[in-house]
Amino acid sequence: MVKLIIDDREVEVPEHTTILDAAASAGIKIPTLCYLRDVNEVGACRVCVVEVEGIDQLVAACNNYVLDGMIVHTNSRRARIARKTNVEFLLSQHSSECTSCVRSGNCSLQSLANDLGITHLPYAKHLEGFHSDTAFPLIRDNDKCIKCLRCIQVCENVQATGVWALTSRASHASVNVAGGRALAETDCALCGQCITHCPTGALRERDDTDRVFDAIEDPEKICLVQIAPAVRTAWGESLGLAREDATVKRLASALRQMGFDYVFDTNFSADLTIMEEGSELLERVRRAGEPGGEPIRFPMFTSCCPGWIRYAKSHYPDMLDQISTSKSPQQMFGAVAKTYYAEALGVDPSMIFSVSVMPCLAKKAEAALPTMVGETGEPDVDVVLTVREIDRMIRAAHIDPCTLEESELDQPLGAGTGAAVIFGATGGVMDAALRSAYFLATGENPDPDAFSGVRGLDGWKEKTFDLAGVPLRVAVAHGLGNAHKLIEALRAGEVSYDFVEIMACPGGCVGGGGQPIHDGCELAGERGDVLWGLDAAAPLRFSHENPSVQTLYADYLGEPLSERAEELLHTDHAAWEMGK
């Protein structure tokens, strides 16, 4: 243990504790800006500088360690002035157009400047004048970038992608696409982790809210909306709702008040996905066992995460045949809505305006793929909104969800099981798939918690389960860095599996790049627990027991992997190119 004095308080902490953590343990919160625990501990912004007696210069508290007998002043005159001046430096290169910024009110730079009492700027303003293509789902506005370097670190070290880099040097140092390319031409997976880890509004999603308002107000359109599983864990965070009050049913009420005609649940198509993907897995296993058949490579990978699909296409194009051909739940929903449901309503599919609310940016790109269209070439899903966008729409429509009662989702596309709702957490797709695969293989339901070994926040989980006497080796990875490690080990022959679930975002969709932003907090675990709780409490916990899905097969699709199911619910991952 090390004893030191911080702001006249005696503090005792273990060796190798940072000054920042030591101060926090004594209840002293040293302001930080660029710091992000375990991700970005580079001491770049110099906001957390403190005075250490006996040392002439100030010391960054975030990445320097306590020493025995150290006397620290976190708010001495020198530290205070330096901290404030450094924020003024950053503001001199920051477009402080807070009134038209999506991060206003949730911006670390703004709060810091306010906290430090900065009321005027002594330095001339110099803006870089660069923003990226605003048609792409991910937008960079360098007039707001403060070069904290977090996006570079998250992309490279957490997501193993490396889209961002320091592209110039000295006073012209700029964070931008490595090599100076256009963002759309990179292998960006659109995981959006750079957005959720950006302290300012330099990175954001393309805002599609106006298109949705227009459609809602268009009397010719039937507006329906699907809500992804992970959305129900987070949509209330920025609206002042307690987690237990921010239910999907209350969100349904808000969306109806906003003017949507039908409010459905992506859980419906998550169950559908399990039927198709699970059947596909068993079919692959069966075909692989046939003598003389075409060789089938294992493992089969899940396909519900479009960020993962983008990553696989750009990093492992030779493995696309190993990814399930099943569309993601969002796209299965879109395809079913504009065929089966349009027929049920007796309307032309072109009258349907299909919106999805997703914790995700990659879903925006997925919905726009040339392969995700109906017979007329119209997209199956018209607009994808992130949770942040739907929250903005709720505020813009001056709806106070706290005052709304819960209401049921519409049927039949609003029905989902516990197996569907866990799609939003890492391990959930695997867990759900195993429950139904077991049923399909044995004709009996397993204990719904039989496969709980794939749950939890370890980056790379593996388990072997017995499926009617056949051992099934499965693995789950979340975060593309973990996916990268898993696939490299597979390719090196160090591991082998039959079925692998990959989610691009750490923690799965609950940690998605389209979720509400809380600087410095990783909420994937807490949000994931909501989903696992919903599953545990659900009356139905097996996808194959979803009555709407059963009806869909009985009345329309026949059976999983039928010709019509292949047509509507499966896709060719090789039929489109990245960077286009």
Binding site: H16, G43, D56, V59, S168, R169, H172, G179
Partner: protein, 609 residues
């Protein structure tokens, strides 16, 4: 009113002089900018401030040039801007009235032409295309990328064995390098910006001299692969070590009686004591490396080795001597430095008692043979060199050491022939005095001065003008060679010969120990890969936590030398290592660029290779 005044230094002038010194140190330690366009802009801005303001091109042109460069940096420029920059620089060069202006124009011109690709990249991509990674300066400066801040922190913590362990992750010869490394790591040491660069060499030596205990490296499971290393110099030994710890079976084939190559047959023992060299080599051989001494390898033998072994590393060094090409060179008493040092390396000490010796050359080897001659009893030693002392390629410390030991340097004297006596023995060297002139190949070239030839009477001439590579037998079998050097790709692989790698002096031409060591390390990694493995060499030492100390001025502890009068009498180590007090103070001066500055973001530490 007085007619004249004595010059007095104003306060401002004194401050300016101090800042000038600081700027000089700063520029010595760090380039103006890690981006070529930033570099040019900084250079032009600096030059512009030096203008007196009288003349148009310098006063206005340099400012206009700076504006154009800012346009490039701020992504406002078009391809035409680059042409305009070149035209502007050229006009300043052609029409400025004094050197302040025309040299500024000349530098800007050189920059825009030399960096044309970088300028175009900025204009086209709005980003810097210069991908020279900004790394920890000492680590980047070390050809083997040794984790210098890491082992210095271990020296500071008094953990010397761990320090040596850490060094050996990247360089298996720390004892050797702690004595003879040319320490390019110190060149850009950031401490130089504050006061003086760290004495990294001395700290490495201190660690090797004060290990608390020996240790053995971790050796991977035997792979069953066999590799032949041809040549037992630093490149070969380094390659053999890393391959051995990766679990491969290595045999070194050495032409001479002992291992060490130029470490033994080139570097005198007063710089690298034989017992230290032997101990370090033995430590490496104990990893299970076989050695075949006095086993020369020619083309035919190489072909046999390639058949018998899974891979071959060719590291034969540069051991044949260059000739002066002067009349009388074959006379008795004229020897090459290579011959002389080779004999000494095998323990055959010649006797120069009472002789007058002329050494021809200006490199480290010339200093080595001159200083060895002192120890062999020579009465008078003259080093004849055709350029100036400041043009010598020998390290300053070596030149100073030679002079302190009584060697006389005759600069600007080019040997023109060897005077041979009636007995067929050398009688002297005839030299032509030179005058220094305009630069050729980067340094000022001498030419004959209007002065008569002179005879330096002597009993012995030692020619130390460089070494050649004995690559002819390999070239004959089709191995690609260029000007005597074996040609490989950057991985060390010889094109067209699967499994054959080469490196060290025979591939680079005569170079430094540390470059040879790195060549061996690179080859080991790539041979391992070639054989289908991916063994990683890991950082196995836990480093002490970084401590912020802030700026504290403190001079650099230098190595002391034994008294010149005493050391000329033997071949014992001339330099004295640091004391513990000195070593700890010196280690504490390290600014830990692996943790502070850019190192915190990128390039802080390589945990494996």
């Amino acid at each position: 009113m007085a007619r004249l005044h004595v010059m007095e230094r104003s306060h401002a002038q004194a401050v300016m002089d101090d800042l000038h010194d600081a700027l000089g140190r700063r520029l010595a330690a760090r380039s103006l900018a890690p981006c070529p366009v930033e570099f040019t802009a900084a250079l032009v801005n600096l030059c512009a401030t030096q203008s007196c303001g009288k003349c148009t091109p310098c006063r206005v042109g340099l400012k206009a040039l700076a504006d154009l460069l800012e346009d490039v940096l701020a992504n406002r420029a078009t391809p035409e801007t680059i042409d305009l920059i070149e035209k502007t620089a050229n006009t300043i060069y052609l029409s400025a009235d004094c050197a302040i202006g025309y040299e500024a124009g000349s530098m800007a011109l050189m920059a825009v032409r030399g960096f044309r690709d970088d300028f175009e990249h900025h204009v086209r991509e709005h980003a810097c295309g210069f991908d020279e990674n900004e790394r920890v300066p000492c680590v980047a400066g070390c050809p083997a990328n040794v984790d210098i801040p890491g082992y210095i922190s271990l020296v500071e913590a008094g953990r010397y064995t761990d320090a040596v362990k850490l060094i050996r992750k990247d360089n298996p010869l720390p004892i050797v390098c702690g004595r003879v490394c040319e320490h390019p790591c110190e060149m850009h040491c950031r401490r130089g910006i504050v006061d003086d660069p760290l004495n990294i060499l001395a700290l490495k030596r201190f660690a090797t001299d004060h290990m608390e205990c020996d240790y053995r490296p971790w050796i991977a499971k035997a792979t069953g692969k066999r590799i032949a290393v041809v040549g037992g110099g630093p490149a070969g030994i380094s390659c053999a070590y890393y391959l051995a710890i990766m679990g491969h079976k290595v045999t070194i084939f050495e032409q001479r009686r002992h291992l060490g190559g130029m470490l033994r047959y080139g570097i005198p023992s007063y710089r690298l004591p034989r017992e230290d060299l032997d101990a370090e080599i033995q430590w490496i051989l104990d990893c299970g490396i076989d050695v075949e001494l006095e086993h020369a390898v020619d083309g035919q033998e190489l072909a046999r080795l390639r058949d018998e072994f899974d891979a071959v590393y060719l590291a034969i060094g540069a051991h044949s001597d260059k000739k002066l090409g002067l009349a009388g060179e074959d006379a008795e008493g004229v020897v090459s430095a290579v011959q002389m040092l080779r004999a000494i390396g095998d323990g055959e000490m010649p006797d120069f008692s009472g002789e007058r010796v002329v050494v021809v050359g200006g490199g480290n080897v010339a200093m080595d043979v001159a200083r060895s001659s002192v120890r062999l009893g020579a009465e008078k030693i003259i080093i004849a060199y055709r350029r100036r002392i400041c043009d010598m390629t020998a390290q300053d410390a070596e030149i100073a050491g030679a002079e302190a030991e009584g060697c006389q340097i005759m600069e600007l004297n080019a040997p023109v022939r060897i005077e041979v006596g009636a007995d067929g023995r050398v009688a002297g060297v005839v030299v032509q005095p030179q005058i220094i002139g305009e630069p050729r190949w980067g340094r000022p070239a001498p030419r004959a001065a209007d002065a008569p030839e002179r005879l330096i009477a002597c009993d012995r001439v030692i020619v130390a003008i460089g070494q050649d590579i004995d690559s002819a037998p390999f070239e004959a079998m089709g191995i690609p060679c260029s000007r005597g050097r074996i040609v490989t790709d950057t991985e060390g692989a010889v094109h067209g010969f699967a499994g054959l790698y080469s490196g060290g002096d025979c591939q680079t031409g005569p170079a430094t120990v540390i470059r040879a060591i790195n060549a061996g390390k690179v080859a080991a990694a790539n041979i391992d890969h070639y054989l289908g493995f991916d063994h990683k060499v890991l950082l196995e030492v836990e480093l002490p936590p970084v401590q912020f100390k802030g700026k504290r001025l403190c001079g650099r502890c230098e190595l002391k030398e034994r008294d010149a009068a005493e050391r000329v009498g033997d071949f014992e180590m001339a330099e004295i290592g640091l004391t513990e007090q000195e070593a700890h103070q010196e280690a504490s001066r390290c600014l830990r660029c692996d943790h502070f500055g850019f190192g915190a973001f990128r390039g802080g530490r390589n945990f494996q290779w």
